[in-house]
Assembly symmetry: C2
Homo-oligomer: 345 residues x 2
Amino acid sequence: MDRLVEILQIKIPVIQAGMAGGITTPSLVAAVAESGALGTIGAGYMNAEVLKSEIKQVKQQTDKPFAVNLFATNLQASSKDIAEMQHVLNPFRHELEIKAGKESIEVTDYLQEKIEVILQEDIPVVSTAFGVLSQDSIGKLKANHVTLIGMATNLEEAKQLVDAGYDIIVAQGCEAGGHRGTFDVNTYKDGCNLGLIVLVQELSANLSVPIIAAGGIHTKKQIEGLRAIGADGVQLGTRFLVAKEAGTNRAYRQALIDASTADTVITKAFSGRPARAISNRFIKEVENSSVATLPFPIQNEMTKDVRAASKKLGITDFQSLWAGQGVGAIDKEETAAEIIKSLGM
Amino acid sequence: MDRLVEILQIKIPVIQAGMAGGITTPSLVAAVAESGALGTIGAGYMNAEVLKSEIKQVKQQTDKPFAVNLFATNLQASSKDIAEMQHVLNPFRHELEIKAGKESIEVTDYLQEKIEVILQEDIPVVSTAFGVLSQDSIGKLKANHVTLIGMATNLEEAKQLVDAGYDIIVAQGCEAGGHRGTFDVNTYKDGCNLGLIVLVQELSANLSVPIIAAGGIHTKKQIEGLRAIGADGVQLGTRFLVAKEAGTNRAYRQALIDASTADTVITKAFSGRPARAISNRFIKEVENSSVATLPFPIQNEMTKDVRAASKKLGITDFQSLWAGQGVGAIDKEETAAEIIKSLGM
């Protein structure tokens, strides 16, 4: 484990996952860093100005290193062929008393601008999901001595990351909450969801870079077990969702505390990309409609207003309740420091 | 780990899974037993006479203890409402040059008769899947000092087994090959497939009986890791499929050696019960037909002749190529003794 701690300049080999959508507040990232683990700003969907502001706020609260998480490819998409899906979503909007959906959708993710901010702010670690950064971006980050962490769901993806110059691989097991890191969603299939004991075994046996295990991890014993299998460290998302410092809304927190181990499903209903969440009305009704979800990030953008209104009203029916299979073990809120302490490292 | 070895009177805490359908030859079971692990006769689908003969053959080759695996509930079913599915299967039969499917199906599993054989033959360990044995059967087996091992896919199922008097629980992770052990297939859902690091953690934290981890296990490191998480021992199926002593046919063996980690899917196409197999033509074509699979064991009985003919012709297209996610790590045939030695315990 020593090499991971040394590369990342942290005390314990635990990473707080860079969950997007307002979860990773500056207070959470700073508290994790202060506890000796690696805090991460979930900068997917953020624009460059917001990212800059978040980085500055973290820096006001800690002088320890922390990471920024990005989607590896720029989300640049637009679509006018969305009428059928709007027809599925509009009844939810009616129920939530918000206006009907738009006739066209546009998404921009400002990836290049965010990389410039990361360079200006001297961020030491960048983690990415959904693919491999461009050689241009990798070159710029490497020139600035940034450590690159890439998420892989199988050996093939991990090899692509290593070949492109990534330093560390996150092995995302099928147990993990939120989006599957699968590079090419068009070839996504059952077999893309490998259990962590298989994935960590395969990556650590075939690669020489450090491996971070992610998915369903909640306890010290699991970390010790994954270390024995070949992981250098672990990444936890779901447990930090109920950290007192996290931006998770009240209804979502309660759903996490109430959920049982078997309550999560993998769905494309929210974003068009397979992702693990606690099952709810939105998932069931979108999946039961005969309408196919639109590709990521179009579906994600379309469902944004519905999810936001559900959150604002404090109900869980139409929120994306991302959660890993370890959610059954969550029974209370804790501070980030308490969570890290309980991992006993 | 000591308690498991002590209860089962074996040397190392490894169990060869009781795979049904002619895989667990007497030579395999005896070789596993002679190597100090627990060999298991897969007696699902066998009648009592065949089981008796198999037991006697194992006893001729070893005086070490071994187990018999049963389905926990008698498979007693018949159906005449099978025309639609026969319509899907008949083109396969045509291709395989066997006669068209029957108009009605009947299945009997002779569970009571097999339990009588087990008692007569003084078998020390019985393992079951798909539910809980009747109190009458449990009473008879316990009176004969038989150790009972039950397979569970979640905490609720494990508690039912323990409450009924089972001594040991097999925690079947989503990684596992072959049939999911899910008790009630009508309520089967995504959440019924828990990663092993989550399931072992949950069962070992909530139950006092020994826990055996099963699914995707191929290496000593994985065993050490699962022990750290809370398992007392492990059960391996897929790795023993390529044991030289196993009854696995040549084409199936080659498919196991050739398959990659991502090649397995969970399907109801073969038996009506969710099960993990290497994806092939049969799965794709049955799933792409608009016809729903019939319930287990009707679907299983209906597809039997097709699978048998495919096996006889040495082709994999229409065989049930059961395999766990660890299949990618299989690259050669070995003796049972070599497999157990490689687990290094």
